[in-house]
Amino acid sequence: MPLYPLVSGLLTGLVDLGGTLLVIPLMLPVTGLLLILAIGGRYAGRIVLALLPLGLAAAAAVVAAVWETGDALSYQLGGWTPRLGVALKADGLSAVLLLTSAIVILAVGVYAQRPFRVPQGLSETRTSLVFWLLFCGVWGGLNLVFVSQDLFNLFVALELLTFSAVPLVSLDGRGETIAAALRYLLFALLGSVLYLLGAVLFYGTYGTLDIALLADQIARVNPLPAAVIAAAALMTAGLLAKTALFPLHLWLPPAHAGAPPAASALLSALVVKASFFLILRIWFDLMPVLLTQMGAQVLGALGVAAILYGGLLALRQGRLKLLVAYSTLAQLGYLFLVFPLAIGPGAARSASLVAAPGVLTGGMLQLVSHAFAKAAMFMAAGMIAAALGQDQIRKLAGIGRALPITVLAFGIGGLALTGLLPSGAYLAKTLLDGAAAESGQWWWSLAMQAGGLLTAAYLIRVFYHALSGFGEPPVLRARPARYQELVVLGLALCSILLGLLPSAMLALPELGRVAAVVTETP
């Protein structure tokens, strides 16, 4: 079957669309969401299954287009130029994240076919309709966050993401998951209201909400006006609440551990990254001058605190899912090391300095490899919990022989997190270490090593219990389907083999970014 020319024909066809290509990743999930509600829960799984490959093709086409032209792909919605209209723009960062989320969503979509299928007799069940519909809502919200260039449009995207993610947490209807969902909702709403307040202040100062136009005007004015600093601080604080960085992390562990496995894979791997991506947009695209301020050091310090706090608490968890949720807290800390390393106190003294190139790529690699690894680990943990009926780490004895592929996938995902050789996290850590050494901030690499040790510690604790036990393997309540195990293994392999990417591909996150010339503020 001539698959290759078919696929390459489709890709070139999509790439020739140019800017209009950006509309497809937005409208695909939204149309899926509406069709599922219209047609009903029985066909929801199949509708999503049909949309997944198209979404992957669109994301791949965006990456190909950005790679070919070497520049960002942009599009004016409704034909109106940005001061009035809303612009979409996919630079290297967005392309990488679009592709990552398309792959993770494809894996989760295939994995979730079994737990959320509709039994024969019924036309529709509550969980199947709700899950598949909110699955498309999360997918649409993510694609819009990665691609939109307008601050208020990003606010609506964040709300679409929040309203799709919160009900997923309380899908099984137990008391504590409803409490976790309510706490998550309140944190997320406070975050988006503070973000909106920041956008309002930007509009009040410059009369536009488009990131590119705002960046031009902010670069010109030297002492930043009070409103702009207040707006940046409010937006960052709001987005930190949504990213659950260390002091504002209360809602994450119960929410991600309480959600069904497929949903918690989405939440941990992608939803939390969307608000982090917006912080990147604000600090690297909108106001690069912030990087030279004390704020970058504060974000780095909070990142280190998250690494240590998340790692230590993951060690003490009794349940497997809570352990994986706390490990998300820790791994998020790594992402925030990008801010202090981007400029670094030592190097900032020189007149003007383009943001250190390797750092952004390192941050992206860490984000992508964590997305793959964490999605695989949550789904594997879900399968283990379903098979044993409970997920107490102490009672995992013999699961290694009962579900070999699942435990292997969980293991590979864990190793990818610790940053073993071929994994993306290893490459990310080397790049970040290089930037730390170059800018003389050795303490950040110290924190990274400590984080790696803690990750290895709580993984060994899981393997000790899972692979031990000489008696007969435990009786399994529900054996996962073979394709589910293979999908999870594939995702884990994606994360471990990310490091083998050709080095030319590593320049992708840098493409399409206006060179962030950072002048030292007097």
Partner: protein, 323 residues
């Protein structure tokens, strides 16, 4: 100190004192009553700010539907909440923590106030650009032009965001209650006064809602405000017990919720070929297309709002021994 400034200061003080009342009220029931009055006063503030469309939305949505939602919640919660006997609110965090948070919040408010005072003097504004491009959109009301022409993506996503919100409310039903009817708006007992109101007001309300939608193109009004008024009328009929709340699974209502955004996407995608941009309207046909979109969106938002108000489906009344 012109007369209008005195009125504004008075209004601002009343609004702030109502906000203080909402925070300081001893029981949640009193706080919600304060919130409804606060919502209506806020609508007057929006009129003073020259934003008639927002005043309509705030009065209908902020004061009206949100008040209805919170009043229903407060009534239900009073069975669970420990009603403080001598006015001491339920055990909250220790006083020192409250003081700290109070200081932090006053600092934030003071900072914001300072920022408001320091906003640049020639206030940056898009008003002139909107006005100059108005004829191209064929619509007279600049707010509707912004909502449906310049920033059409926001309005489309707005209508789409209501669907996961509605599904979020539905997802809180129990599995066996899934086929039942939403329970929030069913009355405990039917009173003749409410029945009279539910028979007299809806016809007037529906005519007013459609009028509000129709004039939205050229004068303050529009689909959101019309949808809220129509949803309020439907809720009133449900509250009076004249009609059974709509079933969650009823196909026509689900189609009604979906048809608005789908038509919007259809017209938007057709814009790629007809007007060489997604969500763009061909030159001469802007106004009829905008009106078509607004009509369908009004229907969808009305049904979505009523489902949001009606709450999660509960097991059928007969099976539910609570009543």
């Amino acid at each position: 100190m012109t007369i209008s400034l005195v009125v504004d200061i008075g209004l601002a003080l009343v609004v702030l004192s109502l906000a203080l009342w909402i925070i300081a009220a001893t029981t949640v029931y009193r706080a919600v009553i304060g919130f409804i009055v606060y919502g209506l006063l806020l609508a007057i503030v929006w009129v003073r700010l020259g934003a008639a469309d927002v005043a309509l939305t705030e009065a209908a949505l902020g004061g009206g539907l949100t008040g209805l939602l919170l009043l229903g919640a407060a009534a239900r919660l009073s069975h669970h909440e420990c009603v403080p006997v001598f006015g001491r609110p339920a055990a909250g965090p220790v006083v020192g923590f409250r003081l700290l948070v109070g200081i932090l919040c006053t600092l934030i408010a003071a900072g914001l106030a300072a920022v408001v005072l320091l906003l640049p003097e020639p206030a940056p504004s898009l008003a002139s650009e909107v006005a100059s491009n108005l004829p191209a959109t064929g619509v007279g009301n600049p707010v509707t032009a912004v909502l449906l022409a310049y920033r059409a993506i926001d309005t489309l996503l707005e209508a789409v965001v209501l669907v996961p919100a509605m599904i979020g409310v539905w997802s809180l039903a129990t599995d066996q209650g899934w086929s039942g009817r939403p329970g929030f708006l069913t009355p405990a007992r039917r009173t003749s006064a409410l029945t009279l109101l539910a028979q007299v007001l809806p016809p007037v309300g529906i005519v007013f809602g459609i009028h509000l939608f129709w004039i939205g193109a050229d004068h303050p009004g529009g689909k959101f405000q019309a949808a809220v008024v129509l949803a309020a009328m439907w809720a009133l009929v449900l509250l009076a017990g004249l009609r059974e709340p709509p079933r969650v699974g009823s196909p026509p209502l689900r189609l009604a919720v979906v048809v608005g955004p789908l038509v919007f996407i259809g017209i938007g995608v057709s814009g790629i070929w007809l007007a060489d941009a997604f969500l763009a309207y061909p030159a001469g046909y802007a106004k009829p297309m905008i009106l078509a979109i607004e009509a369908v969106l009004t229907l969808s938002i009305t049904v979505a709002l009523v489902f949001l108000l009606a709450g999660p489906p509960a097991a059928d009344r007969s099976a539910d021994g609570r009543r």
